[in-house]
Amino acid sequence: MAFEPSQPLRDYTEKVIPRYPQKRSAIMMILHAIQREQGYISLEAQEWVAAQVEIEPIQVREVVTFYPFYREHPVGKKYIRVCRTLSCALNGGYKVCDKFLSEFGTKLNETSPDGRVTVEFAECLAACGTAPVAMIDDDLYENLTEEQVKELCDAIKRDVPEQAPAPSAESTHH
C-alpha cells in the first residue's frame, strides 16, 4: 500500500526542510510529524521521507531503528511510558508500572487486549524531583501513587473506546 501523505504533513514538510542548511537534517522532525499523525512509521512512509530529503530509504530506516521513540508498528491508543531509572525506582516506579499493567491486564511492551494502551518503561524523564513519574502521550504525571494510577486508568477506560488490538508486527511489513 503506497503512503499517501496528508496535506498538513506535506505543508509541514515543505516548511521544515528549508529551516536547515542541509535537507537531511529535517528527517527527525518529519518522522515525528508522521508518527504523530499515523501512530507509527511504515516502510512506505520512510520511502516517502527519503524522497523528500533526497537520500536512500535505508538511510531513513537507519534513523528510525536507532531511536527508541520511533516505531514501525502501531501501538495502543494511549502510549504510556513509566520511568524506570534510579530516582523513580527509589520512589516506587516499578510498582507504578505494575499498576498500569494490571489495570489493563497487559504486559510490558505489549498492547492491552482492549487496544487502549501500550505500556513501556522509559529511561529518566528529567523529572526526578517529583518521582515516580510517567508520561501518557505528551503529558507528564508526577509524584504518582497507586491510587492515582488507578484514577488515570479509569479515566482512560472511560474516555477511550475499546478497539481492535493493534495489528501484529508482520501485518505492517511488506
Binding site: 518522522l31 534510579l86 530516582s87 525506582a89 516499578y94 510498582k95 529511561e123 505528551d138 507528564l140
Partner: protein
C-alpha cells in the same frame, strides 16, 4: 499533567539568578512578560559592544559549563576555527538526559526567553550563522513553548534578520530528539542533528569547535550555561565573577532526588554551601528512621560516595582537607577533590531501605540500554555488567563477581570513542571499590531482590 509545576517553597538559602522569576505565579512565558521584567535589555546592550568585548565578559565571568564537564564557556568559544571561513553554528544542548537531572526543564518551560536571549548574545559574540536548540523528545510541551517564544522574539526583532536593528542576523531552529540518551553527548548530538544515527565522533579530530555540524566550527553549550551568559554580560564579567567562589563563579541549579524529604531543584551560589547543607538543611534530610547508604554527587555516571567515608589530602593551594560527604563544597571543584564530579549537578541520595547491589543493577541497566554500539568495550561491557548485576539481584550472586565487575569496568574506561565509556564504567568501578563487603555479602546471602516494597530492577 503540567510539564513543570511552579515551586512555592523556595528555600531562603537559595540565590536565584537563572530561576529568579521562573516560579513566580504571575510570571509567564510570553515575550511581553519577559520584557516587562527587563528582558532583552542585555541583548540590546551586547549589540552596542564589539563581539570580542561580549566574549571578554564571558571569559572574565569564568562561566563553566553546566552540562557535565564544567569546561569554561569563554575558552570553548576561543577554540572556534575562524580561519576556515566556514559558517559557525551554535547548538544549545537541551537533551537533559543524565539520570537525576531536571534543571533545564524548569528553564525551558518557565522562562524560555532567558535561554533565547542567552543564545542570541552567544551567537553575536561568536558570529554564529545559525543556532539550534536540540531538545529531548520527552519534553514535547517544552518544544512547543520554545517554538512559540522564538516566534514572538522574532516578531519583536530579537531573533532572525537584523536583530535589534543591527547588521547581525541569526535564526534559531528547534530540533527534537527521539529518546536516545547518547544525543546528549555533543558529537552524537551533532550527528543526530545532521539526520543520522547519534554515533559520537572521535576526538581528535572531530572537536566541534573545528569540525562540528556539517564539518563546520560549532559551539555546543548547555541550556543553563547559555542563560548565565545573559547575567555575565548584564552585570559585567568582573562583577559576575564575584558571585560564588574563585574558579567556581556564579550560581548553579542543583537537582536533588532520591531518598530525601524535600527533593527538587535549588539554585545556590557556587561553593557557599556543602553537600550536607543541600541534603539535610535544604532538602530536609532523610525520611524518618532511615540511615544514609550512599550519595551520587553529579548524575548517575559520577562515582558514588559511601556514607561515612572521608576525603583527605591537600588541595591545589596546598591546604589540607579532611571532609565527610557532608563537608564537600557544593561547586565544580569540591566533588572532584573528593574523587568524583559535580557533573550535571544531579545529587541522588540513597538510604538503607535498598540494597546497594540493586542500585548498581538499576544504573547498569540504563547505560547498557543507552550505549550507541559503536565501540566493542562500551557495547559489550555495559551489557555484561548489566547482566552480572541483574543476576546478582536474582539470588545468584557469586563471590568472584566483584572482581569480574571491576575488571570489566577497567577495560572500558579510556578505550572508547566517547565518554559514555567512562559514564558506564565509573558507577561499577566505584560501587565495587567502595561497597566490596556488601557485594561479597550478597553472594553469601544469595538473596533475591524484589520481595520488598521497593524494587529497583
Amino acid at each position: 499533567m503540567i510539564a513543570a509545576p511552579k515551586r512555592t517553597d523556595i528555600h531562603p538559602k537559595e540565590r536565584r539568578m537563572i530561576l529568579k522569576h521562573a516560579d513566580d505565579p504571575s510570571y509567564d512565558t510570553s515575550v511581553d512578560c519577559y520584557i516587562e521584567h527587563g528582558g532583552y535589555e542585555t541583548l540590546k546592550k551586547a549589540l552596542t559592544l564589539k563581539p570580542e568585548d561580549v566574549h571578554d565578559h564571558v571569559m572574565k565571568a569564568g562561566i563553566r559549563g553546566r552540562g557535565g564537564a564544567g569546561f569554561p564557556a569563554g575558552m570553548k568559544w576561543k577554540f572556534l576555527d575562524r580561519k576556515s571561513g566556514k559558517p559557525i553554528y551554535l547548538i544549545c544542548n537541551a537533551d537533559e538526559s543524565e539520570p537525576g537531572t531536571f534543571k533545564d526543564r524548569q528553564i525551558m518551560h518557565k522562562d524560555p526567553h532567558q535561554l533565547i536571549e542567552g543564545m542570541m548574545i552567544a551567537a553575536y559574540a561568536t558570529n554564529t550563522a545559525k543556532a539550534f536548540i536540540y531538545i529531548r523528545e520527552e519534553m514535547p510541551h517544552g518544544a512547543v513553548i520554545l517554538e512559540q517564544a522564538i516566534e514572538e522574539a522574532r516578531a519583536k526583532g530579537f531573533v532572525g534578520d537584523k536583530i535589534g536593528g543591527s547588521d547581525y542576523s541569526c535564526d534559531i531552529v528547534v530540533h527534537r530528539g527521539a529518546a536516545a540518551y547518547i544525543c546528549g553527548e555533543e558529537t552524537g548530538l551533532i550527528e543526530s542533528l545532521e539526520g543520522k544515527r547519534a554515533y559520537p565522533r572521535i576526538k581528535p579530530p572531530y572537536f566541534p569547535a573545528a569540525l562540528g555540524l556539517y564539518m563546520c566550527p560549532t559551539i555546543v553549550n548547555n541550556v543553563e550555561t547559555l542563560c548565565h551568559v545573559v547575567h555575565a554580560v548584564s552585570m559585567g564579567g568582573e562583577e559576575y565573577a564575584k558571585i560564588g567562589t574563585p574558579n567556581n563563579s556564579g550560581t548553579r541549579i542543583w537537582s536533588l532526588s532520591g531518598h530525601v524529604q524535600r527533593p527538587g531543584y535549588y539554585e545556590l551560589e557556587n561553593g557557599k554551601h556543602t553537600y550536607g547543607d543541600l541534603i539535610y538543611e535544604i532538602g530536609g534530610g532523610l525520611k524518618p528512621g532511615r540511615q544514609l547508604l550512599a550519595v551520587i554527587p553529579g548524575g548517575s555516571s559520577s562515582k558514588v560516595w559511601r556514607a561515612g567515608e572521608r576525603f583527605k589530602g591537600k588541595d591545589r593551594g596546598g591546604n589540607e582537607y579532611d571532609w565527610a560527604i557532608e563537608d564537600v563544597p557544593l561547586n565544580f571543584d569540591g566533588p572532584m577533590t573528593a574523587g568524583s564530579m559535580s557533573g550535571s549537578g544531579a545529587v541522588i541520595v540513597v538510604d538503607d531501605s535498598v540494597d546497594i547491589v540493586d542500585v548498581l543493577a538499576n544504573i547498569n541497566a540504563f547505560y547498557a540500554h543507552e550505549s550507541c554500539g559503536q565501540c566493542t568495550p562500551c557495547r559489550e561491557g555495559s551489557l555484561w555488567m548489566k547482566k552480572i548485576t541483574s543476576r546478582m539481584t536474582s539470588g545468584h550472586a557469586r563471590p568472584e563477581d566483584v572482581d569480574l565487575l571491576a575488571s570489566i569496568g577497567d577495560q572500558i574506561a579510556g578505550r572508547t570513542i566517547c565518554a559514555h565509556g567512562e559514564a558506564c564504567a565509573w558507577p561499577t568501578q566505584s560501587f565495587v571499590a567502595k561497597f566490596r563487603d556488601k557485594f561479597l555479602e550478597r553472594a553469601e546471602r544469595q538473596a533475591a531482590s524484589g520481595s520488598g516494597d521497593i524494587r529497583l530492577i
